[in-house]
Symmetry: C2
Subunit: 476 residues, 2 copies
């Protein structure tokens, strides 16, 4: 009966296999003949479309406009900012032939577009009146990853990249943090994912950035997913590209820059935070389909009840699907669970005799038999309740795997070996100590978390004075 569900490896048996099984069972992705590139199937793409629509509105409300840059970057353009090219050149794809001819200069497929934006900004920025420039781009980027995993690490990535230019350092820094906050709110209110916000170390920051801020999510298995980043560039690129504007004092100055991005990897995060052994679980605020309606048998009476509900849902703007196929009810229930539809509405003959129908919550799998006429009100309530419940469950689990009181390297070692999650430690700020934790224990620095920066002891590695506290953890 529960055909599809039984194909899923239990989450606690093999998390990696469970992840792939959920993706396959829910028809999110297919593998392609292009090594390392995935096909995002309709249901997976519908989740991305929701993410795009919600974020795009938030970007527009905060004053940003969309543009489209070329997908190719001439090698000489990529080479202009030194740190940037060192960071990206080893992992790009190169176009060397166009049509019948070998190219004079090879072009890389954009791994990110700072260089292209700067090249354009140089032409259009002349005066402080042209600032701030608040641009965003939705596009595909390519990074030639050696090992790939659907949504998390792929050679092609769908993403958005914000690129902004400002007249002052303060404005640019405010923008960097404003967009980090937009990301944080989106994760919390739509994806139901709690995130830790903070600053990346110099080692982990974006190639070419002065400061990188991150939203760090924790997956079910205690491993981190960097789910979005926001960068402050200072004037680095502007100087390298010769971008100047006449300020209010009529003097030439380099503008201050930011960039910020999120990707389809957020779908991977959704899966690894909320889903279970029965398949995908989606928070109502991001789910493409909120209610799955299953007529237990297909006859006129039942279909007319279905129709009364679909009419009402349509009016309310609540998305739904009706499964009228000749598959067994059990198969339909399992299918509905695998796809993670937040609410299932079962309508059967026997229930109807008593004027009842059944609602099933996907998050708790709780069955609620209720009066036919109470369904719509209950759906409204449940959509809110499920959203909150998923967030709270994720928050509680995440908090139970935060080790905020680690005082020694031994404790940190114990956590690395035996306790999944993030450990907050005192740190001297030196790269050597950060490297040692990575090399010895396999933990990478996550971020210097906002509000928890102030050290209260010595560096957990070298024992010297700490300059900050910082989270370490394994990562995807």
């Amino acid at each position: 009966m529960e055909k599809k569900n039984t194909e899923i490896t239990p989450r606690d048996v093999d998390f990696a296999k469970w992840y792939n099984d959920v993706i396959a069972a829910a028809d999110l992705v297919d593998y392609s003949s292009v090594k390392g590139s995935m096909i995002i199937r309709p249901y997976g793409y519908a989740i991305w479309e929701n993410m795009v629509n919600i974020l795009d509105k938030k970007f527009k409300i905060t004053g940003h406009v969309n543009v489209q840059m070329p997908m190719f970057i001439p090698e000489s353009l990529l080479n202009i900012e030194k740190d940037h090219v060192e960071g990206f050149a080893p992992e790009v794809a190169w176009v060397t032939q166009g049509g019948e001819n070998k190219l004079e200069e090879r072009l890389c497929v954009r791994p990110t577009s700072e260089t292209l934006f700067c090249d354009h900004f140089k032409k259009i920025i002349k005066s402080y009146r042209d600032l701030p420039l608040l641009y965003n781009q939705w596009c595909t980027i390519v990074r030639w990853e050696k090992t790939t995993k659907p949504f998390l690490r792929s050679r092609e990535i769908l993403w958005q990249e914000g690129h902004t230019m400002h007249a002052t350092e303060q404005e640019a820094k405010e923008e960097t943090l404003r967009m980090l906050k937009v990301y944080e709110d989106f994760q919390k209110n739509y994806l139901a994912i709690p995130v830790i916000t903070g600053k990346k170390t110099d080692k982990e920051k974006f190639a070419g950035a002065e400061e990188t801020y991150t939203i760090e999510a924790m997956m079910y298995d205690g491993v981190a997913l960097q789910n979005g980043t926001s960068h402050y560039f200072g004037q680095g690129f502007a100087k390298a590209f010769g971008i100047e504007f006449l300020n209010k004092e009529n003097k030439l100055e380099n503008p201050y820059q930011t960039s910020w991005g999120t990707t389809t990897r957020m779908i991977g995060g959704l899966i690894m935070v909320h889903s279970d052994d029965y398949g995908l679980v989606l928070p109502p605020n991001i789910a493409p389909i909120k209610v799955s309606i299953i007529p237990i048998s297909i006859d006129d009476e039942i279909l007319s009840v279905v129709k009364s509900y679909t009419d009402a849902l349509e009016e309310k703007g609540i998305t739904y699907i009706v499964d009228k196929t000749d598959k067994s009810p059990g198969y339909k229930f399992a299918e509905s669970e695998v796809k993670g539809y937040p609410i299932r509405l079962e309508i059967g003959k026997r229930d109807l005799l008593e004027n009842k129908v059944t609602l099933v919550r996907r998050d708790t799998r709780e069955k609620i038999v209720l009066d036919k006429s109470d369904v719509l009100k209950k759906i409204d309530e449940l959509l809110i309740e499920i959203q909150h419940n998923l967030y709270n469950t994720a928050l509680e689990r995440r908090n139970s795997m935060l080790y905020n009181n680690v005082q020694s390297y031994e404790e940190l070692t114990d956590i690395a070996k035996n306790k999944p999650g993030f450990a907050l430690v005192n740190w001297c700020g030196n790269r050597e100590c950060e490297d040692k934790i990575k090399d010895d224990l396999g933990l990478k620095s996550r971020c210097i978390p906002f509000g928890l920066e102030i050290p209260d002891g010595k560096c957990v590695v070298c024992g010297k004075d700490a300059t900050t506290k910082i989270y370490f953890g394994k990562q995807y």
Copy 2:
């Protein structure tokens, strides 16, 4: 005063230069350091976003879902369908290096995605129950064009490509024409562009298609723009890729396929049909900003009137822009014209003394002084009227350049040399005659127009029996 406008070469003096000037003056596009690729600037991209949103809704209403395929095609995959590879291989960009390594097999950047879709369809189509598959993709494609022109011919193109699979020939043919009709309606009702619909000749059809249908628009200068195409593939790709399904009789069969696409070139069409010597003219139904509000002076009284209008427009969902800068009114008027905002609302002190304000139509440039309280009603009316007027003007002009009664090669020659537009001629159906018209007169076949196919004379070239009538014309 009319600073921006005076930068535009008059349309009747040099149409090509006028086109580029309008694009530059309206800030639609910038040239990039990547030869042949353009940057679509915020205002140009906003037009594309409107096109995407409207078309995407139409595709979804007709049952289609969006997916995302890889952007690369391995050479061996591109090579599977013979006609297709011959058509596309000469004009693709090749990736030969990924990261530090030379690739074992080179990858082309997709010029179109039939091969990728077929590779995927082979895996997911098993039974007639899986059909029809109605997919669409929004993405960027690359064609290594030698000469480029903003929006019309570019190395990178933003587009949508529908790809569908059906159990029967009839269903697939119906889909091909259904989507052509969706395109036609979109052109008419949103872009205000009349199109001639019909079938392409074998010479002009898509590489690999059995039949290609087109919507042919005529630009201000009488030259054709193929503004969208819809292809019926029969079972050609399905056989080449080994795609099979179990039909209702439990027998294996190849499915029947279609694809259809439109691109950013539609923006070029919009410009060349409607715009004028004062800049861009946009039909209200596609314009990102419908009303431009210009306070003649910036003081509290005027700004409070502005506010009353913007509140009302917001409530009605009518997009607007308010120019509160310290530029002169004349400059603002010119800017508003250059950008093609359909309606300009001028609010000045002197008018207000008499409770009046001024509306200016962008299409006719007519000034309407009216009572303050009549503005909102008038805006509603004008938006409809301007949309109709632009369509009717385009239709009349187009019709005045259709030569539907061409009886001899001499007449056709005269048209080719002296009369811009399309000529409808009797044709024997042979490639030689089609080629001769191209080689001698520079006219390419546009299409065999629906409803006008039946010949009424001999082939205009060879004098043999005609099998059809067909339009010829110059093209972009």
